[in-house]
Amino acid sequence: MHVFADQANLDAYLSSFLWILKLTGASAFLALVLGVLLAAFRVSPVPVLRGVGATWVSLFRNTPLTLIVFFCYFGLFSTLGLSLADDLDLNNYWLGVVGLSVYTAAFVCEAVRSGINTVPAGQAEAARAIGLTFFQTLRIVVLPQAGRAVVAPLGSVLIALCKNATIVGTIGLMESSNVMKDLINSNGDAVIPIFLVFAGTFAAFLIPTGYLFGWLANRLAVKR
């Protein structure tokens, strides 16, 4: 592997996956918060909130992520002048986080909503009948039970998010797919090994993640 024996190439490889990890971490957190909130909107008794939730999901779930990330760069940053950091890389990073988060939140919302639907309606009725408010009912009774049903699908959303993070490469961040393209361009004799190293790195992270979520889902299942 002469390519990765070169210290500069190795550094580029390592820092590219560091970007992926950072993109995934920040976007996962924001998408989770936003997605749960949107799911709460979608099951709320207030029509306006339900509308906001439904519109968000239709809009972002049906727009290609590449377009959303492009819009963050060319629309929010270039045209509207929204700058999220002084450093060029950091600015691209945060614009990418915005795009990934709003997109992934739509999928988190739908996963959580399907989890909510696995909780029998009687649970929420009983909670309301003792005088819990809508948000207390959700927080104390429905979401803890839905959360357990939602662990496995959320694992899939997280895995998709991690792979989707490579799309931020299209606005110039030197994440894995961008670095891989550069390495391939300058090392035409090692295309397949380079590809395998990058793909293998993703697999090394994501396969255990999948198993972890499957194990968690089994452990947390609610007895009925």
């Binding site: 008794p45 649970q123 009725e125 309301r128 009948a129 003792i130 819990l132």
Partner: protein
């Protein structure tokens, strides 16, 4: 058990209508329930009796008419509605105990989260209530580990923990194995004796005879008869009620 009512009625329904799409499930229902009164609602399935019961704490919003509880019209969604619901206990056909909470937590959740009661205090009261319904020794189990009859008694204790002004029972024994019906009815009968205002939708005619002050007979969304139990069972006035009683009492 007559003459238990004093002062203004606790629950008043005035010309209540409810549609599920084209289906007219409550048809101009007017009804007044006094404090301490035990009203049993009977009727064929689909007659709207469960909907009537659920409308009283607005689990089922009505299409027109008014419902007043303790002098106040039912609030729309929001904090005021939650407060009203905390004053009206409800027991469901399918128990609906919180599946992820222990028996004791089921009973203490409302007092702690809704009333802001101290956990130690709520625990003590909760255990006393569980003792009263005969389940104190199961306090740390989860609902799925209890029999149906035990779960329903816990559900009654959970409602009582809120010290409600009235209790609604929506077919509380319909999902139970026959040998467990008695233990639930015993708890309900003792509540009735203590003067709790109760609205009970049920098919248990024995309970209606012994514990009710009034029997309401519903058919096709209409309130057809409203009479004392002895009178209703001996001399039903409407054809619908005669027909219904002849079907259930001959077996």
């Amino acid at each position: 058990m007559d003459d238990v009512t004093t002062g203004e009625p606790l629950i008043v329904l005035d010309s209540v209508n409810k549609w599920f799409g084209p289906l007219h499930v409550l048809h101009d229902v007017s009804l007044s329930i006094g404090r301490g009164e035990v009203v049993v609602v009977i009727g064929p399935s689909g007659s709207g009796k469960s909907t009537l019961c659920r409308a009283i704490n607005r689990l089922e919003p009505i299409s027109s008419g008014t419902i007043t509880f303790d002098g106040q019209p039912l609030p729309a969604e929001g904090k005021a509605l939650a407060k009203l619901r905390s004053e009206v206990g409800m027991v469901f056909q399918s128990f609906n105990l919180f599946a992820h909470k222990t028996i004791l937590e089921n009973v203490t959740l409302g007092p702690i989260k809704v009333r802001g009661e101290k956990p130690a205090n709520a625990r003590e009261r909760g255990l006393a209530l569980l003792d009263r319904v005969g389940i104190a020794n199961q306090a740390d189990k989860f609902p799925a580990q209890l029999s149906g009859g035990q779960q329903q008694r816990v559900a009654i204790a959970r409602a009582l923990a809120m010290q409600p002004k009235a209790m609604l029972f929506d077919e509380p024994t319909s999902a139970l194995d026959p040998e467990m019906v008695g233990e639930v009815l015993d708890v309900m009968t003792s509540l009735a004796r203590e003067g709790m205002t109760m609205v009970v939708v049920t098919h248990e005619m024995g309970f209606a005879r012994h514990a009710a002050n009034r029997v309401i007979f519903m058919a096709d969304g209409q309130l057809v008869e409203d009479a004392a139990p002895a009178e209703f069972f001996a001399n039903p006035r409407s054809e619908r009620a005669k027909d219904f009683l002849s079907k259930i009492l001959t077996h």
